[in-house]
């Protein structure tokens, strides 16, 4: 029997979104480093910041899932 809640599905969907976002950021960063290796450190910093923003959005969703996953309700 499958045990779980809709909140878990929500968290999974958030992970999909964050995966696409971080994948795009990482891919573009790699491309630009390959094109301009001397700018690697700057690109890396900006990549990390952008990744943190994307991750934060996914974590908002996780928090909402947590709130929705109220076992006492």
């Amino acid at each position: 029997m499958v045990v779980g809640s809709i909140a878990a599905v929500g968290a999974g969907l958030a992970a999909v979104g964050a995966g696409i976002g971080i994948g795009k950021i990482g891919g573009s960063a790699l491309e630009s480093v390959a094109r301009q290796p001397e700018a690697a450190s700057k690109i890396q910093t900006m990549m990390l910041i952008a990744a943190a923003f994307v991750e934060a959005v996914a974590l908002f969703a996780v928090v909402v899932s947590f709130l929705g996953n109220n076992p006492t309700a």
Binding site: L48, I49, A52, A56, L59, F60, V62, V63, P71
Partner: protein, 386 residues
């Protein structure tokens, strides 16, 4: 080794502070729990029966218990045999101020142990202090648990020094000591090369000034540097302190939404108070658009000013809480699979995630500071710059 005297004096200060702390908050061992078992004896059989039922390991409860605030620093051990540092409980009740140490609850957070002070009876039910009921319910708890697990008992106003409050004070004191020292050595060694802790911290301060404050605030950055530096080092220090698994650390302070709420409110107040008239004009009477659009945009733009600090608040809270949950969930794998062979895998994953969390701790402190600088910059910049 001409730096040695500096390190020595700092270690002295720290050890004195630590000794004072231990003297103030008595270490409360399990041996104390021997007398006054009258109340417990009645409920003991019930408790045993209940515990047998709860043998199955509940990950969610375990994790939520660990990231939540509590009335004491748990050190090691389980239930009655655990060792923890008691913290003072300060309550404002109907009959005035009541204080006692959290050790008086004997590690109970299920509402099963009643503490009597000033003729009033208190219980600790899931780290909330309630007025105890006259008799215990069928689970041996001195609280009335109604539908949806709502506790019907009245609660006094709780001003206790909890784990998070203690960590807040502790990190505040440490940061003040460190940075007053650094500031003093800047004053004393003007024009000379930095020394000791100063040389460790100087690149970070310069990084905040050159990469955060100046690009966002321009010529006005001087006035906001103290605030930016304070929130950056406060968040960073507490993120790292949260990753320390034993005593002075371990509290999930930056993963507490109340604390991030206060930080976001501070940013909001500074932004709102320091905003110039162009900023307000862009919110309530957007130039360059037709009048119906101006009316339509005003509430939206005003909401926009509120969502910025809310996003700041949730971003820091969610990132740090998620990190703690991840570490604990990976550790829980050992207990879920009930196998010692899963332990090496789990521990390696935990070390890996902890490394990432150290990075995230820095990045989140950085992003909070960057966004604060950006919001203040938007509010104070002169018209025509954009």
């Amino acid at each position: 080794m001409h730096f040695s005297h500096i390190f020595k004096s700092r270690i002295n200060v720290l050890s004195v502070a630590f000794a004072l702390f231990l003297a103030f908050f008595s270490l409360n061992a399990a041996a104390q729990a021997l007398p006054d078992t009258t109340v417990k004896a009645e409920n003991h059989t019930k408790i045993v029966a209940e515990e047998a039922k709860e043998k199955k390991f509940d990950i969610t409860a375990y994790i939520l218990h660990h990231i939540a605030d509590s009335h004491g620093f748990h050190m090691w051990g389980e239930g009655e045999n655990s060792v923890s540092i008691s913290l003072p409980i300060i309550l404002w009740t109907d009959n005035g101020l009541v204080t006692f140490m959290s050790g008086d609850f004997h590690h109970d957070s299920e509402g099963k142990h009643v503490v009597e002070k000033n003729g009033q009876r208190f219980v600790n039910h899931h780290e909330k202090i309630y007025y105890a009921s006259a008799t215990a319910n069928e689970h041996g708890e001195f609280v009335e648990v109604g539908a949806k697990h709502k506790v019907a008992n009245l609660a006094p106003l709780d001003f206790s020094i909890t784990k998070n409050v203690f960590t807040l004070i502790f990190s505040g004191v440490i940061l003040v000591i460190l940075f007053v020292n650094v500031a003093r050595s800047y004053a004393k060694r003007k024009g000379k090369s930095p020394k000791g802790f100063q040389s460790l911290i100087e690149p970070v301060i310069l990084f905040i000034r050159d990469d955060i404050a100046i690009p966002n605030l321009g010529a006005k950055h001087e006035a906001y540097m103290p605030y930016l530096l304070t929130i950056f080092f406060f968040i960073w220090f507490n993120n790292i302190l949260g990753m320390v698994p034993f005593f002075p650390g371990g509290a999930n302070l930056t993963g507490n939404i109340n604390l991030t709420f206060v930080l976001a409110v501070l940013t909001y107040i500074i932004t709102t108070v320091k905003a110039n008239k162009h900023y307000w004009k862009h919110i309530f009477w957007m130039p360059g658009v037709p009048v119906p659009m101006k009316i339509f945009l005003a509430p939206l733009e005003f909401l926009g000013t509120l969502t910025k600090p809310v996003a700041l608040m949730i971003r820091l809270f969610a990132n740090i809480t998620a990190g703690h949950i991840l570490v604990l969930a990976l550790l829980c794998l050992i207990f879920v699979f009930k196998s010692i062979f899963i332990a090496p895998v789990s521990v390696v994953f935990v070390v890996f995630i902890s490394m990432i969390e150290l990075l995230v701790g820095f990045i989140q402190a950085f992003i909070f500071t960057v966004l604060t600088a950006l919001f203040i910059g938007l509010a104070v910049q002169e018209h025509g710059e954009h």
